[in-house]
Structure formats: structure tokens, C-alpha cells
């Protein structure tokens, strides 16, 4: 599926800078950001919050059979990362010689995600690197 540039552009602050949000009504942190707080529903008071990107691996897998968009990238590690501010987020875990396993500490990195065909968009996003 080839996307319009606006589908990337409208999420760019989250994808590039890990900007999520916080509900001022209950204090819950969200990344990716939510329009409506899961706990508060209609009473949500959402404000932007930038996350530092430090966290640890909560679960990890290595994908060897990718969707077509990632056929040139496989195999690659995908982790569920528990950010130090609380939210759990799925993301790529980079290979840097440190074995990524449950409990491994990670930090934020900015990387190319994938290229859409020969002439399509190049997508960038955060990834995580073991430390």
C-alpha cells in the first residue's frame, strides 16, 4: 500500500521525537499518544509529553518472515519496550553486539524505517538500541 505523505507527516512528532501525551485528569502517560484517555474517557485532559526514550525490553522477537514493505530489512528484532515513564511501546531493536533479551536496557535512536518502492517516500522513525 503506497501512502500519501500526509499520513506520515501528521504523526511526525511522535515518530521522530517520541512525543506522546499525558492525561492531566488521572496522570496516565501514553505513547503513542491517545486522543482519549483509556481510564477517563470523556473526562480526559490530554496534554503533550515528550518521552526520553530510555527503557528496558519487556519482550523480544526476531522477525524472519516480514511483510513486503520490510522484505529488504529481515531479519530484524522487534521488542516491547517498557519506557521509564511507564508506557509500553513496540519498536525495532538495533543490533550492536549486545544481545537483546528481556530486561536489557535500551535507549532511543533515530533511523530509517523503510523505503516505499523505487520512487516512493522514505520513512524514518525511532528505534531502540541496547546499552
Amino acid at each position: 500500500m503506497e501512502r500519501s505523505s500526509s499520513s506520515l507527516w501528521r504523526k511526525i512528532r511522535s515518530r521522530y521525537d517520541l512525543v506522546g501525551n499525558e492525561c492531566k485528569n488521572c496522570g496516565s502517560n501514553y505513547f503513542p499518544p491517545r486522543v482519549v484517555c483509556r481510564k477517563c474517557g470523556r473526562k480526559s485532559k490530554m496534554v503533550e509529553k515528550k518521552f526520553a526514550g530510555d527503557g528496558e525490553i519487556y519482550s523480544i522477537t526476531r522477525i524472519r518472515v516480514p511483510p513486503d514493505t520490510f522484505k529488504d530489512e529481515a531479519p530484524y528484532f522487534i521488542g516491547v519496550i517498557k519506557l521509564k515513564e511507564g508506557p509500553m511501546v513496540e519498536g525495532h531493536v538495533l543490533e550492536n553486539g549486545i544481545e537483546p533479551k528481556i530486561g536489557t536496557k535500551v535507549r532511543l535512536r533515530f533511523r530509517k524505517m523503510y523505503v516505499e518502492g523505487d520512487e516512493g517516500l522514505i520513512y524514518y522513525q525511532y528505534k531502540f538500541e541496547p546499552v
Binding site: 519482550s59 524472519r64 516480514p66 511483510p67 516491547v80 513496540e90 528481556i102 522513525q125
Partner: protein, 389 residues
């Protein structure tokens, strides 16, 4: 409030598998006519249709599939509604059919599920199925469905010591059951070694831990219980119909080692039926991956958290053991044409409770259950059934 009881009086299935010479319409007709014959009912008596397909638009470029099914089966001009709830589309359609009859709005309702998945490449199929998760934050990053269930499996292994061999035993059992099912995609037994040596898809899940890409359809006919004997000598009563949802995105859930929607739907279903887990004789659970059957056995209340994997590996859930699980072969052995699966599960339970399941018949089966999951757990549907003759 349930206004009146509902029974299934007819079920039909197409053969599941790689059906190169059959298209969407052929599969619908094969299962649909079988169900009408089973109920001894004419096409003209049907009042309403709920049709389920998950991603027919991506798989074959066809939307509007419920009206198409009504058209193809000769249900002239009746209301037809397509229902899409990812891999739980079939179970959700069954529940909507149940509600339509229970409410008194319609007397005779057909629920039919179909998916034609093998007309596209496996990469395209993987992308289509990926839409069952959070497109923006999962599929966008190249996270596949085996990937999501692998993340659950890894955490389950970490917290409870579940092993890859125990997971493999789910596939071995389900292939064994499938070998006894004429409708199944894989009519052959496999060994733990076969699973362990199969190609790694998403660590720790290997090819034989994963349900296949399949073509197939399944159809059921629902009527008020009070009229059921007119169509079938052994109507099967739906004694509970429950459904729950959760976050689309896996990482946002309360836990990676349970499917909360399953737990909630199961609790509601047991309450409706005034039954407990120990009362169930035969169950079809949603084993899209081997780990998913382990989670289901725990979340449906058959085993405490962390205890199901060993029990399955010890043979407690094989045919005619402590609890017969996935006698059809499950999604792994029978195949998983996503929109059809939930209704196929109901068909298997109907055959079991009637005593028509032949080689794979569970002895003295009186109470059956089906469990259908959408995505990585954002939808779960649970039904409980009893003989009503």
C-alpha cells in the same frame, strides 16, 4: 435480556485448504448449500444473513460480501450485513445472528463466513492480516502477526517457564485431530521434531507453530428453539453468547501473557449458561499460533495461569482424554480462512454434540464451547452449546 432461546439446525462447510480451482462464490455456495440441506430448509425461507469476511478486499478485491452471499445462495432480496472483526469475524457474525433470532426480530437467520486467501502472495496475505492489529504502530513497523504472538510467547516463557517443545505439542495434537477430519487442510500427523525443525518465522514461533493461509467457508442456520424440531431432530441450543474487546495494540494491554477479552467473554458466557469450565466436554479454541491455544486454555478457566502448557504436552487435551480440545484440528490443522473460522468452530461443536463427528467423536459429549479471537486479542467471542432434543 434474552427474549427466546435459539438453536442451530443446520451447518455446512467447504473443504478447507489451498483451493486453487475455487473462488469466493464457489466456496460460499459449497458451504451454504450443505448447511441448507442439513437443516432441510429452502433458500426462500431465509429471512436475514450475516456474512463474515475479514479482508476480502485485499485478498480478492471484493467487498460487499454479505449481499453477494445472499445473491449466490438464492436468498432473494433479504437484508444482508457483512461483519468484519478480524479473525473473530465468524464468531461475531454468529453472535449477531443469535441476537437477531433471540430478539424476535427474525425467525430464520443464516450466518456465513468465507475467506479466499491464496490468490495473493504470502507477503500480501501477511500485510492483509496485519490490519487486524494497530496499523499505524504495529504493521507500519513491520510487526507481523507471528511477531505479535511471538512477543506473547516470549513473555509467557519468561514468566512461567513454558518451553518450545510444549508449544510444539499443541500443533502435534491438532494435526492428529485434523487427520481424522475430511474437511481439514492438513490430514497428516506431525511430530514434535517436525515442529522444532521447521523454519523459524518469528522467534520462538516456527512455521509449524503457525496456522496456515487457507481458503474456505462455513455456514450455520439459526432458528428459535421452539421451531427447531421442524428442521432437525437434534437441534443444538446456544446456551451462551458473549463477546469482549480490548486495545488493538498489543503493548497497551494490561498483560502480554493473557488475553483479557477472552477472560471477560468466558466469565460472561459461564454466567449466562449457569455452567463452569469443568462442565465443558469439547471445545474449539482459537489456536492461530500454538501459544494462543495455551493462553486460551488458561483464560477460558480450564487451567491456572502458567499450567496449561505442561498439561497439553502431557496429553490432557487430546481426543477423548480429560478435555477434548480442537477436535476439528483447530486453526492449525483444519486451516484458517479467517472470516470462516468462527463459524467452522460452531459447525464442529454441532457435529460433536449430535454424535456425528465420526472418527473424531468425543464420547458422551453434552456441552460444547467455541472461542474465537480477533487480532492479537482485541476481540474475543465465546459461545456455549447443548443438545436440545
Amino acid at each position: 435480556m434474552i427474549m427466546r432461546d435459539v438453536a442451530i439446525v443446520g451447518v455446512g462447510m467447504s473443504k478447507f485448504g489451498e483451493r486453487w480451482s475455487s473462488g469466493l462464490k464457489d466456496l460460499m455456495a459449497e458451504a451454504g448449500i450443505a448447511a441448507l440441506e442439513d437443516a432441510n430448509i429452502s433458500s426462500h425461507e431465509i429471512e436475514m444473513l450475516y456474512g463474515s469476511t475479514m479482508a476480502s478486499g485485499r485478498f480478492v478485491g471484493q467487498e460487499h460480501t454479505a449481499a453477494l452471499m445472499a445473491d449466490q445462495l438464492g436468498f432473494h432480496n433479504i437484508p444482508a450485513v457483512r461483519l468484519e472483526n478480524a479473525c473473530a469475524s465468524g464468531g461475531s457474525a454468529l453472535r449477531q445472528g443469535y441476537i437477531a433470532v433471540a430478539s424476535g426480530i427474525h425467525d430464520i437467520v443464516v450466518v456465513g463466513g468465507v475467506e479466499k486467501m491464496t490468490d495473493v502472495t504470502s507477503g500480501e496475505a501477511s500485510t492483509a492480516l496485519g490490519g487486524a492489529g494497530d496499523q499505524e504502530w504495529e504493521l507500519f513497523q513491520g510487526i507481523t502477526f507471528p511477531g505479535l504472538y511471538a512477543l506473547m510467547a516470549k513473555r509467557h516463557m519468561y514468566e512461567y517457564g513454558t518451553t518450545e517443545e510444549q508449544m510444539a505439542s499443541v500443533s502435534v495434537k491438532n494435526h492428529d485431530n485434523a487427520s481424522k477430519n475430511q474437511y481439514a487442510q492438513f490430514r497428516r500427523a506431525i511430530t514434535i521434531d517436525d515442529v522444532m525443525r521447521s523454519k523459524m518465522v518469528s522467534d520462538p514461533l516456527k512455521l509449524l507453530d503457525c496456522s496456515p493461509i487457507s481458503d474456505g467457508a462455513a455456514v450455520a442456520v439459526l432458528v428459535p428453539l421452539e421451531k427447531a424440531k421442524k428442521y432437525n431432530d437434534t437441534p443444538i441450543k446456544i446456551v451462551a453468547s458473549a463477546q469482549a474487546s480490548d486495545t488493538l495494540r498489543l503493548a497497551e494491554r494490561d498483560s502480554l501473557t493473557e488475553i483479557k477479552a477472552t477472560k471477560i467473554a468466558a466469565q460472561n458466557a459461564y454466567k449466562q449458561a449457569k455452567l463452569e469450565a469443568k462442565d465443558i466436554d469439547v471445545v474449539e479454541v482459537h489456536d492461530c499460533f500454538s501459544i494462543a491455544e495455551i493462553l486460551a486454555m488458561e483464560d477460558l478457566g480450564f487451567y491456572k495461569k502458567g499450567k496449561a502448557a505442561k498439561a497439553i504436552a502431557d496429553g490432557e487435551t487430546t481426543l477423548n482424554s480429560k478435555l477434548s480440545v480442537n477436535t476439528s484440528g483447530g486453526l492449525k490443522g483444519c486451516g484458517h480462512p479467517v472470516g470462516a473460522t468462527g463459524i467452522k468452530q460452531a459447525a464442529e461443536i454441532v457435529w460433536q454434540l449430535r454424535g456425528d463427528a465420526k472418527e473424531r467423536q468425543v464420547k458422551n459429549a453434552e456441552v460444547g464451547m467455541t472461542h474465537n479471537v480477533g487480532g492479537s486479542g482485541a476481540t474475543a467471542v465465546v459461545h456455549i452449546y447443548k443438545r436440545a432434543d
